[in-house]
């Protein structure tokens, strides 16, 4: 089965951090990475995030599907940047070193390549951390941590529930698909793409109906047990902060300061070697 957003239970230092810590670190980290176009910092962040990934004992094969999607997204993103603003680097860095020219007035410049290198590095600096967060945080802890950083608990809980039911819905999709295959409605390779989409969408119909039933029953169950009664709620899974939590947040903050510091030193978000 495809692993989309799924908690993977494998004891590691990352797993032991509280959900709130991980969410805070993720946010700070993302700010640090998004705020800067300095490849030195981005290299550091990318190296660190890949290191953290190893520390968490999550394997590449656990997140293969998500990695694949983000990889193609990254490629597409870069192609589009080049197609629509091939001279963006030139504008940013105020210099133009053309390497070669292409038809239709396009040209490859050092500045553009440097700019797009930064974009690629940003993916490497953030995606591993996002995957890390998703794979090492239990949905209920995730809800608790969203709530802890100030989101309404109703919203937090609905996000967590949605994540939690993804595997169930996947399983159901699989079951429904089998019964349809038995009737000769095939979805495997060898069926034309258009036909495949049509056949797969036939499954969505029963799937949506049964998901609606599920939502109704879970909503009743939650109301019957007092969900939504008070403005606040407490969390059974809440854990007090440990030393490691403070340390992780501190490290993230240091990285954010570094990012801000570099922006000040460079005089802009962009590091200009030209």
């Amino acid at each position: 089965m495809i692993n989309l957003f799924n908690y993977i239970d494998r004891p590691s230092p990352i797993h032991r951090l509280t959900g709130a810590t991980k969410l805070l670190c993720l946010l700070i980290w993302t700010f640090a990475a998004m705020g800067s176009f300095d490849p030195r910092l981005l290299f550091l962040l990318a190296a660190l995030s890949i290191g953290l990934f190893r520390l968490s004992r999550i394997h590449i094969k656990d997140v293969k599907f998500m990695l694949g999607i983000t990889f193609w997204f990254m490629v597409l993103n870069n192609v589009l940047i080049f197609l629509f603003s091939p001279e963006h680097g030139v504008e940013l860095y105020g210099a133009r070193h053309a390497l070669c020219s292409l038809p239709l007035g396009y040209a490859v410049t050092e500045e553009q390549l440097f700019y797009q290198l930064n974009v690629v590095l940003k993916y490497f600096a953030t995606i591993p951390v996002v995957l890390l967060f998703v794979c090492t945080t239990q949905p209920s802890e995730f809800a608790a941590s969203l709530n802890r950083i100030g989101l309404s608990y109703k919203l937090s809980y609905s996000v967590a529930l949605a994540l939690r039911y993804i595997p169930d819905i996947e399983r159901e999709y699989h079951d429904i698909a089998l019964s349809h295959q038995a009737r000769g409605i095939e979805m495997g390779r060898g069926v034309p793409v258009f036909q495949r989409i049509k056949n797969a969408s036939a499954i969505l119909f029963p799937l949506i109906l049964s998901s609606m039933d599920r939502i109704e029953s879970i909503a009743s169950a939650m109301e019957l047990r007092g969900f939504g009664k008070n403005k606040k709620r407490s969390w059974y899974s809440a854990r007090p902060f440990q030393k490691a939590d403070y340390a992780a947040i501190t490290v993230s903050l240091v990285l954010l300061l570094l990012s801000i510091g570099l922006t000040i030193v460079n005089g802009s978000r962009f590091y200009n070697p030209f």
């Binding site: 239990q138 949905p139 209920s140 529930l161 939690r164 159901e172 079951d175 429904i176 089998l178 019964s179 349809h180 295959q181 038995a182 009737r183 000769g184 409605i185 095939e186 036939a202 499954i203 119909f205 029963p206 109906l209 049964s210 039933d213 599920r214 029953s217 879970i218 909503a219 009743s220 169950a221 939650m222 109301e223 019957l224 047990r225 007092g226 969900f227 939504g228 009664k229 008070n230 606040k232 709620r233 407490s234 969390w235 059974y236 899974s237 809440a238």
Partner: protein, 568 residues
């Protein structure tokens, strides 16, 4: 008399979307510490009654209320659903749907979390509630690591952390295997004795629900309370038959033996049943009165599984060395507890999974290499939930979908679709939308869509799950009719009545092995098999022992033969 806790007074309720009231002029009083069973056929309004009690009506399902309903002396329409939930704890039918937390402990704590209970107090109360229902050893487990019975215990603990006065069980037996169902009834009884809570059980399986004594049975039909009796009085009255509920099997057996049921027999529960010597003699005479019906010769083998093995990718062994033959035109059941390997076996037959070893032959030809689609021409598979199978908006399109996918000529599609619709008595509806059908009709529609492929074997997963006696009888008589047309029928089921009444043969799975392959009557009167497969003995077994008949299997068979004759 003790204090009244639930008082319906000329209470009516009409859903906003419906033209008729679902509950009509209900007057009913339940007292503190009572244990009451509310029974009635599907659609009689018993679930609506439960929703009125726990506040889902009118808070989640709006509608028009007339008359009064008081819980613990207060008018419910003046209370919020949250206030009400502090007094009435509801254990829903589907314990999967009710499982909100990610672990047992979190789920039990859910109501406390919503009350902003501080963490240390929360942990203490969760532990206490978990101990009460005996799940304290599983606090860190996720729902999918628990059995159905354990999930239900967790649900119960989740409402008991609040010290509710009234416990409301909505069809507590619906999703449990027979042995677990019995434990559930015992658990409810124990909890009630220990806490003194008022217990309201909504259930249509009368015999099972009455395993432990209840104070009163309230019968509901067409939105009205039609009886309010003790169980002993209830089984003497003709009411059960009139509203389409199944009376306990031992009661039917006593009637077949020509005995009038009277309150002195205390026949409300098998545990209290007392028969005089003369009555026992009457039962023995009835038993020996007719010879056992002759069984025909074994049919020609149609589908043969030999030495089937199956292992999940995670190394868990699901099936070991299954040898099972389905004969031409047979009707049989595959039974066993959850995880025994029944569904996996069916999946192997249909080709959804590939076996690790062994062979599957159809009319002597090895079909292991055949695709799912090719096998479906011979072996039809009907899922438990019709809503999972139906993907077209119009009835005729649904039936034709498999034929269209096979690229058959239009004439042939029309012929086969018409025929399948006719067999399933759906022909008059063929141009209707699917949404206009009832659950039972949808079930028949899914069967029709498989029949259109003209299979020789039909495998049905839990064909009667969640159905009341009337619908059960309709579905099963329909399947018997199909069987009469020469189609072999294999049913995966928990339903003991189904096994007993409709299956000359039952294959029993336990722990991935086939542990018995004999008649339904023989399985359900064999304590050892019953124990291994998480079933429960039929009450006919106890009755035969009570009357000093040692061959319980023959006694059960006599009952089945007689029953067939009576019902035609």
């Amino acid at each position: 008399m003790s204090r009244p806790v639930i008082e319906f007074d000329h209470f009516s309720f009409q859903y906003d979307a419906q033209a008729e009231p679902t509950l009509k002029d209900v007057s009913l009083t339940l007292f503190e510490g009572e244990k009451v069973l509310i029974a009635g056929p599907s659609g009689c309004g018993k679930s609506t009654l439960a929703h009125c009690l726990n506040g889902l009506i009118p808070f989640a399902y709006p509608g028009k209320i007339e008359g009064s309903l008081k819980v613990a002396g207060r008018e419910t329409r003046e209370m919020s659903i949250f206030e009400l939930s502090k007094r009435v704890g509801t254990v829903l039918q589907d314990s999967d749907g009710q499982f909100i937390g990610l672990t047992v402990a979190e789920d039990i704590a859910f109501a406390l979390e919503n009350d902003v209970t501080p963490l240390p107090e929360m942990k203490a109360r969760v532990k206490e509630a978990a101990e009460l229902v005996d799940v304290a050893g599983h606090l860190a487990h996720a729902p999918h690591e628990l059995s159905g019975g354990q999930k239900q215990r967790v649900s119960l603990a989740g409402v008991m952390v609040d010290d509710v006065e009234i416990l409301l069980f909505d069809e507590p037996l619906a999703n449990l295997d027979p042995a677990t169902g019995r434990q559930a009834v015992e658990l409810i009884d124990d909890i009630q004795k220990r806490t003194g809570a008022t217990v309201v059980m909504i259930e249509h399986r009368l015999e099972e629900a009455l395993t432990r004594p209840v104070d009163r049975v309230i019968l509901v039909d067409e939105g009205k309370v039609v009886a309010d009796l003790s169980p002993d009085e209830l089984v003497c009255s003709p009411l059960l038959k009139e509203i389409g509920l199944r009376e306990p099997l031992y009661v039917t057996a006593l009637k077949y033996a020509g005995l009038p049921i009277h309150p002195g027999m205390r026949a409300g529960s098998l545990g209290t049943l007392t028969l005089t010597e003369a009555e026992k003699e009457a039962v023995r005479r009835w038993f020996t009165g007719a010879p056992e019906a002759e069984r025909g010769p074994a049919p020609k083998p149609l589908l043969e599984a030999r030495g089937l093995d199956f292992q999940y990718p995670n190394g868990l062994k699901a099936l070991t060395g299954i040898d099972l033959t389905v004969g031409e035109g047979e009707m049989m059941a595959i039974v066993g507890c959850n995880g025994a390997g029944k569904s996996t076996f069916a999946k192997l037959l249909c080709g959804f999974e590939k076996p690790g070893g062994g062979s599957i032959r159809f009319r002597g030809r090895d079909i292991l290499g055949d695709s799912v689609k090719a096998r479906a021409d011979h072996i039809g598979y009907v899922m438990q939930n019709p809503n999972q199978m139906i993907s077209h908006a119009m009835i005729r399109d649904e039936v034709a979908s498999g034929l269209v996918a096979r690229g058959l000529p239009k004439q042939e599609i029309d012929r086969r679709a018409e025929q399948a619709l006719t067999i399933c008595s759906l022909r008059p509806f063929r141009s209707w939308p699917v949404s206009a059908l009832s659950y039972g009709q949808k079930k028949r529609l899914t069967i029709a869509s498989i029949l259109a492929l003209e299979p020789e074997i039909l495998i049905l997963d839990e064909p009667t799950a969640g159905q009341d006696f009337r619908n059960y009888t309709r579905i099963m008589e329909f399947l018997r009719e199909l069987n009469g047309r020469g189609i072999a029928i294999v049913m995966i089921t928990h339903d003991m009545h189904l096994m007993l009444e409709y299956c000359p043969r039952a294959a029993v799975f336990a722990g991935g092995r086939l542990i018995a392959d004999k008649s339904g009557a023989a399985v359900l009167t064999d304590p050892e098999t019953v124990k291994k497969a998480s079933l429960r003995e039929t009450s006919l077994y106890a009755l035969s022992l009570m009357c000093g008949i040692s061959d319980a299997r023959a006694f059960a068979q006599r009952f089945i033969d007689h029953d067939r004759e009576v019902r035609g």
